[in-house]
Symmetry: C4
Subunit: 339 residues, 4 copies
C-alpha cells in the first residue's frame, strides 16, 4: 500500500462526505456541516488554508543543516514531529458512516503511535462516544489526550475523571464548540465559560489542561489567567462560525502576547511539512492536524495513518534542510519571506 | 419540510430565473435583469457579498453570554431579529412566472409574521401591483411597510395614502430606482429628487418614512435634512447601476456621519447570522434581506419563509454566543477582526 | 431584431473567432492573435477591463439631474454620446471570414451614423484595405476618421492624402502597431517614430491629427510636442504587447500631465454606460469602443450596430442620472468612489 | 511544421505528463512530482509565473529603436538572445517515457545551437544520465554547460572532470536539489553546502562556475564569497519546496545586493519575450527557460526547439521595439510600470 492508494481508498470509503481533493482547502465541501466542510460559505475553513498560504518561505541552501532533528518534547512525552492528531469524531454524522467510531479511532490511535506522535480523541452529545474513545485509548495504554466539549462544569469534570482512568496523559476542552446551540435541544447545553468557570475545571485535575478554540489576543491572555497549560489557536476547522480569520492570521499576535507563559498549539489548514514549519515560525510550539487523519484512516486504517505520518516526517525534514533549520527550536521568523 | 427541501423546490419553481446557488453571490446570474441578477457584469450585486466577506470576525469563547437576546424595537414594533424582508416584486418578469404576485407576497408576509419579523412590500410601473400588495398586507392587519417608486411627487403621495389605508406601519421610497429610465417610455417616469421634493413627501404622512437607496456620506446627510426617519443603505441589489461599491464598503463612513440622527438600515448581500452581526457592527440598526425570501417562498410558501427565519434566528443566536454579544445593542466593532 | 438576437447571431457569424461572452474581458480568447483576443497570456486585454473594474462609482439619487445631456462636440462634429467606433479590421484574418471587409465596414459606418456617432476606419499591410475602407467612408460623405499604420513617413502621408480625398474629417496613426515586426517580412515595415518624424506627418495635413497608442506620461508630453490634436490612450486592445497596464490604470496620470493641451481619447475595455462615465471621470474627453462593433455588425449588420448604440445611449443616460451628472463636461472625479 | 503543430504533437508525445496548457503556469500539474509540476500545492511553480505577471511594462512608441540588438556575450560566448535552456532531465520519470534521455537531450542541444543559444544539461541519481548527457554534448563540440547535483564534494568534482573532458564551456551545481532527501535512501545523498565546501568545488576547475538555487539576499552574498562566477536565482521550478516566493519576487533585492559582483541568471516562469525583458529589467544578466524546451523537443525534436527559439527571438525583438530598448544592456527599470 502506498500513499496514492490510501487516498484513493479514502475517497471511496468516505462515500462522498469528503472528496479527498488534490489540495484540501475547503472549497468543494463548503457549507457541508454535518459533513467534513466548513460552516456556511466555508470561509473560515478556507481562511485557515489561505492564511497559511499567504506566508512564503525563504529557501536556503548554503549552510550545514544536513540532518535536522524534527522531534519535540511536550506534556512529558517525546514526539517524532511537532504534530498531534486533532480530535475529530462522528463517523456516521460526518464521514459517510462506512466504519464505526471504534474502528476509526483505533486506527487513528495506532497509526499515530506507530508514527511517533500522539492522538487527541473527541467528545459529542452522545456520552457513549467519549467512553468508546477512551476505551480505545486505554487499549493503547492511554497514550493520548481527551478533549471534552464545554458542557456544564460538573459534566466536564466527570468526563475528565473518565479520561484520567483511561490513562490519558493530558486533557482539554474545545470551548469553540460553545456555539452549537442545537445541542441544547437535546438537553445537553454547551456554553462559553468565564475565567472562573474554566479555573474550576483546570483545578479539578492534575493532568496538563489544554484550552482549544482561542482566536484573539485578549482571550489568549484570559487563558493564561485560567491556569491552563496550553491553548489551541483554532476556529474549530471553520465548522462553528463563518467568516473568522484563519489561524495563521491571528497566531503571530497571540504568540507575541503569551509565548512562554502558556504552550501554544496551532490547528487549521496544516497539510504538509512546510505548513508545520510556518506555524512554528509564527509562534506555535506544535500543531494539530485534523482532516488528513480521517482521509488516511478511512483509506488505509492504521497503516494509512502511518504512511501519511512517514511522508509528513520526511517532508518536514526536507523542508528543514531547504530552510536551514537544525531543530524545531531553531525555527524562527528568519524562515519567513518578508517581501 | 426541511430547509434543503425548501431550497430544492425553490430551484424548481423559479424555473431557471434563479439557480438557488450554494452561496448566493451574484456570479451565476450576472447581468440577468430582468431576472434575479445584478445589472451588466453583476459587479454591484457581487460587491455586496464581497464587501461583507472582506470583514472577518473575532471568535470569542471566554465570557458569560450563554443566552443572547436577538430582538430589537423599531418603528414602534418588536422584531425577533433585526431583519426586514426587502421589497422585491415581479414574479412574471423576474421570477419565472410560476406563481402570481398575490400568492408570492402573501407567503412572504405570513412567513415573516410567523417568524417574528415584518415584510416590506414593493411597487412597480403597473399600478395594480402595489394595490394587490397592499390588499395582501391588509389581510394581515397591515403588519408591514410599503416602499413606493420615485414617481412624480403627487403620484408618490397618492400611493402613500393607499398604504396608510391598508394599515402599513411605515412607508418609504426606493429612490435608487430613479435610473430605470425605460419606465418613462410607459408614461411613468421615475426620477431623482431634491431635498425639497423629498421633504414634501415626508411631510405628507404621519407614518415613519424610509428613504431607500443611499450610498454616499453626502447623501446620507441630505437624507437627514429631509426629515426622513430612516435610510436604507442600498444599491438596489446591484440591479440599477453596475460597478458601485458594496453596501458594507460604504456603511461605516455613512454610520459615522449620521448614526443617531436617523435610523440606518443596511441592504445587500446578507445571507446568514454572522452577516447580520457584521452589518450591525458596521453601524446598521437593522438589515433588509431580499433574494432569500424569493427562494424560500417559491420553495415552501409561507412555511418555507418561516423555516428560513427559524434557521436565521438560531444562526444569529449562535453567532452572538461565539462573538460574545449579549444583545443587538451590545454589538460593536469589537466584533470585527482588525487584522 | 433585439439585442439578444444580435449577440446570438454575432456568435454564429463570427464562427468561433469570438465567443461573444456574457462579459467580454479577454479570458476566453487569451492569446488569439490572429483572432479577436489579446497577445500571449491576454493580460493586456484583461488589464483594460480589470483596470476599469477597479474603479467603483458613487451612486447618487438626491439631486435634480432628471434629463442629462449625453452629447459632446469634437473635431467640429456633434456626437450623441462621447464614443467613437475604434478602427478594427481583418474580417478574414481575425473575424472568421464570413463577411467581406466592405460589408463589415459599411455596416459599422452606417450603424454609427444612424446611432449619432462616428466611426474610425483602419489600415493593414494590404493597401487595398484602407482604400476600400475609404471608399466605404466616401459613400457616407466621409463622415469618419481614417487611422493609418506607422509605415515609412512618405507612405503614411500618401495615405493621408487618400483619406482627405475620401472626405474624412480627421486622420490619425496607430503608432502602437510598430511592434508588428513580421510586417517587415512582407516589405512593409512599421516602426516607432521620433517627435520630428511625427511632426512631419502632422504638418502634412490640415485635418485634425490623432496619435493612437500612448501609454505613458512621458510620451503623452512628447505627443503634445508633435502638434497632434489628440492622443488615444491605448494598448492596441492588448494585441501587440503582453503585460502592459490597463488603459484606466495609466489614464489619470496622463490626464493630469496633458489635459487641456491635447484632446484625450481612451480606448480599452469599455463595454457599457458606466465604463464611459468612468473614463471621462478619469480624464478622457471621449472614448473608443472596439470589439462590440465587430460583434454587433456581424450579428445584425448596420441595424445591429444601431441597436447596440441605442442601448448604450440609454445606459449612459441612466448612469448619468444615478451618478448625478448633468452633462459630459459635468463628469468629474466626484463620480469615483474613493474607498 | 509550425508552432501550433509542435505544441499539439508535444501534448501527445508527453502522454499526459504535461498538458502543454495555453498558459504554462503550474495550475493543471500542481503536485505532480514526479511529473512536470510543482511540489505539493504547486504554489512555488505558480509563484514564479505570478511574480512575473505582477510586473507590468511601459509600452512606448515615440522613439528611434527601429532595429534593436537582442544578443549578449557571456562565459566567452555570444548568444542571439539572453536565454539558456535550463537543465531538465528524466524522460521516463517525469515526461511520460516515450523518448529516451539521449533522444531528448540531443534535440535540445541541437535545437539550441541552431537557434543561437546554448543548453545546460543535467544530472541525476543514476550516474549514466550525466554521462550520456555529456556524450551528447561532446557530439556538438561541448557547446553547453553541465549542471551537477550537490553530492558529496569528491563526487561533484569527479563529475566536473567528466564535463571538462566533454568540452563544456562552463559547469555548475543545482544546490537547490539538496532537499531531495529520498536520494539518500539510494546511497546517493545530496546536501546543502557551506561556503568552504562550495569554494573547494569552485577552485577545482578553471571553467566558469554557476551556483543554481539562490533565493535570498544573504545567500547571494555568500555565493559571491565562494568565488562562483554566476548564480541562478531559482526555486528549482517549484519542485523541491512548496510556498517559496517567485523568482521575480526575490530578484530585485538580490540584484541590488550583488549586481556586478557576480553574473545573475534568473530561472522561473519565463515564457515569452516580455518576460525575458522583465527579468533583465529586474536585474538579471540572462535567463534560463525550462519546461518549454521539454514541450517543443517532444513535439518537434530539434526542429521544434528551433521553431520555438525563432518565435522567441522575434517576440523579444518586438517587445524591445515596443518598450524602446536598443540593446539588452539598455534594458533598465524604466521599462517597468510603477503604478
Amino acid at each position: 500500500m502506498n500513499f496514492p492508494d490510501v487516498l484513493r481508498d479514502g475517497r471511496l470509503n468516505l462515500r462522498g462526505s469528503c472528496s479527498v481533493c488534490r489540495v484540501c482547502d475547503g472549497t468543494v465541501c463548503s457549507g457541508e456541516v454535518p459533513g467534513m466542510g466548513g460552516k456556511g460559505t466555508g470561509s473560515s475553513f478556507k481562511a485557515n488554508v489561505l492564511s497559511l498560504n499567504k506566508y512564503k518561505v525563504n529557501m536556503r541552501t548554503i549552510h550545514d543543516v544536513k540532518d535536522p532533528d524534527t522531534s519535540i518534547h511536550l506534556f512529558g512525552k517525546t514526539l517524532d514531529i511537532p504534530v498531534f492528531a486533532a480530535p475529530v469524531s462522528g463517523t456516521t454524522l460526518n464521514m459517510g458512516g462506512k466504519f464505526t467510531e471504534e474502528e476509526y479511532i483505533s486506527w487513528v490511535i495506532k497509526g499515530c503511535l506507530d508514527g511517533g506522535i500522539y492522538p487527541m480523541v473527541g467528545d459529542t452529545a452522545v456520552d457513549s462516544f467519549l467512553i468508546k474513545n477512551l476505551e480505545a485509548l486505554k487499549k493503547f495504554d492511554g497514550q493520548g489526550i481527551a478533549i471534552i466539549k464545554p458542557w456544564e462544569n460538573k459534566n466536564v469534570i466527570e468526563k475528565i475523571r473518565k479520561a484520567e482512568k483511561a490513562g490519558a496523559f493530558a486533557v482539554g476542552m474545545d470551548i469553540d464548540a460553545c456555539g452549537l446551540i442545537t445541542l441544547a435541544l437535546h438537553g445537553k447545553p454547551v456554553m462559553p465559560k468565564t475565567v472562573e468557570e474554566i479555573k474550576e475545571i483546570v483545578d479539578s485535575t492534575n493532568l496538563p489542561f489544554i484550552l482549544k478554540g482561542i482566536m484573539t489576543v485578549d482571550e489568549a491572555k484570559l487563558a493564561v489567567e485560567t491556569g491552563a497549560d496550553a491553548i489551541v489557536v483554532s476556529n474549530h476547522g471553520g465548522r462553528v462560525l463563518d467568516h473568522t480569520p484563519g489561524v495563521a492570521d491571528v497566531l503571530p499576535a497571540i504568540a507575541k502576547a503569551v509565548k512562554g507563559k502558556i504552550t501554544i498549539l496551532a490547528d487549521g489548514g496544516i497539510r504538509n511539512g512546510i505548513d508545520v514549519i510556518k506555524m512554528i515560525a509564527l509562534g506555535a510550539d506544535a500543531v494539530l492536524i485534523g482532516r488528513p487523519f480521517v482521509m488516511t484512516s478511512f483509506g488505509g486504517q492504521d497503516e494509512g495513518v502511518k504512511i501519511y505520518l512517514d511522508r509528513l516526517k520526511s517532508d518536514i525534514k526536507s523542508a528543514m534542510v531547504l530552510t536551514g533549520c537544525k531543530s524545531i527550536e531553531d525555527i524562527d521568523d528568519r524562515v519567513l519571506y518578508k517581501g
